[in-house]
């Protein structure tokens, strides 16, 4: 969780400097369209600083905590990898499952894009896609492990990867599309916003993998105080 918080700080910097200009431009577009918002509940300044920080850091703690648990499980089970290698692999997989997979079908949208009437459907689809990413990845790993004795590690991994890509492709093909970009919305702005959103996630997961890996490596290195704390290495 702390590593997640640390990674959140990095992601926040990227979000603030790369992402916010896009949000501002999009809101300028939204307001140019004379779309009445009524009284502002939270000022734009607060939204783009404190609000952004709360959201990104909470996101960091949440995903950091979950990913840390996954790392604990993967340690020693994912192959003969050192703790920091495991951490980086897990965070790479997490980036793929909970971000890149949903992003492929339902990419991040700036303000002014999206019909408020369909928010329920879009949120459900987005979380469904996240869930699918995780479930399919776990399924791919399990299948891959089953195939190792028959195909060998290399081909089993290739087969599992192919299964994952195929399954995600099918999901993308059959889930309903969302196309709610308003007329006249600058394509370039949309592109910049999405690239910034991608950069935020990339930063977050890379930073998390490195920070958590470093911490885990130090904790678990022989000679470190309070190392593994599990005197039964032969079990399983």
């Amino acid at each position: 969780m702390l590593a997640g918080l640390g990674a959140g700080v990095f992601a926040l910097l990227v979000a603030f400097f790369l992402g916010e200009p896009g949000v501002e431009d999009a809101i300028a577009f939204e307001e140019a369209g004379a779309h009445e918002h009524g009284a502002e509940l939270v000022s734009r300044t607060a939204q783009s600083t404190g609000g952004l920080a709360t959201g990104v850091l909470a996101f960091g703690v949440a995903f950091g905590g979950i990913a840390a648990l996954v790392c604990c499980f993967a340690l020693g089970r994912a192959g003969r990898f050192a703790p920091r290698t495991t951490a980086l692999l897990v965070s790479g997989a997490a980036l793929l499952c909970v971000y890149l997979v949903p992003f492929l079908k339902y990419p991040a949208n700036p303000p002014a894009v999206g019909d408020p009437g369909t928010i329920g459907k879009r949120t459900a689809l987005y979380f469904l896609m996240m869930l699918l990413g995780v479930v399919l990845a776990v399924a791919a790993v399990l299948c891959g492990r089953r195939l190792v004795p028959r195909l060998g590690t290399w081909y089993a991994t290739v087969a599992a990867g192919a299964f994952f890509v195929l399954a995600v492709g099918l999901a993308c093909a059959f889930l309903p599309a969302v196309d709610e970009v308003p007329e006249g919305f600058p394509a370039d702005l949309l592109w910049r916003f999405r690239v910034a959103a991608l950069a935020i996630q990339l930063t977050f997961w890379t930073a998390f993998g490195l920070l958590f890996g470093e911490a885990a490596q130090r904790l678990l290195s022989p000679g470190a105080r309070g190392a593994p704390g599990d005197p039964s290495p032969a079990v399983r």
Binding site: V23, A53, Y126, F127, A197, L220
Partner: protein, 73 residues
């Protein structure tokens, strides 16, 4: 399975022992639920569904929600 006993030398880095599932499970249940709730508040509260009425939570995390890729409005 004997190679799980870490025997670090200059060339082979530490290969960690497996943490038993029974040791991870309670943490996973506790923290997992907490983290999912946290995620829900950042990602979806007062957008698609609401626990609290009003739009305070939505407005406060508005920018983060957009930039983290969640559907916002």
């Amino acid at each position: 399975m004997t190679q799980h006993v870490a025997q670090p030398t200059a060339t082979t880095p530490v290969v960690p022992t497996r943490l038993p599932v029974r040791a991870i499970a309670p943490w996973a249940a506790f923290a997992g639920v907490l983290m999912l709730i946290l995620l829900y508040f950042v990602g979806a509260e007062q957008g698609a569904t609401s626990v609290f009425s009003g739009t305070g939570v939505h407005e406060w995390v508005h920018d983060a929600r957009h930039l983290l890729g969640f559907p916002c409005h």
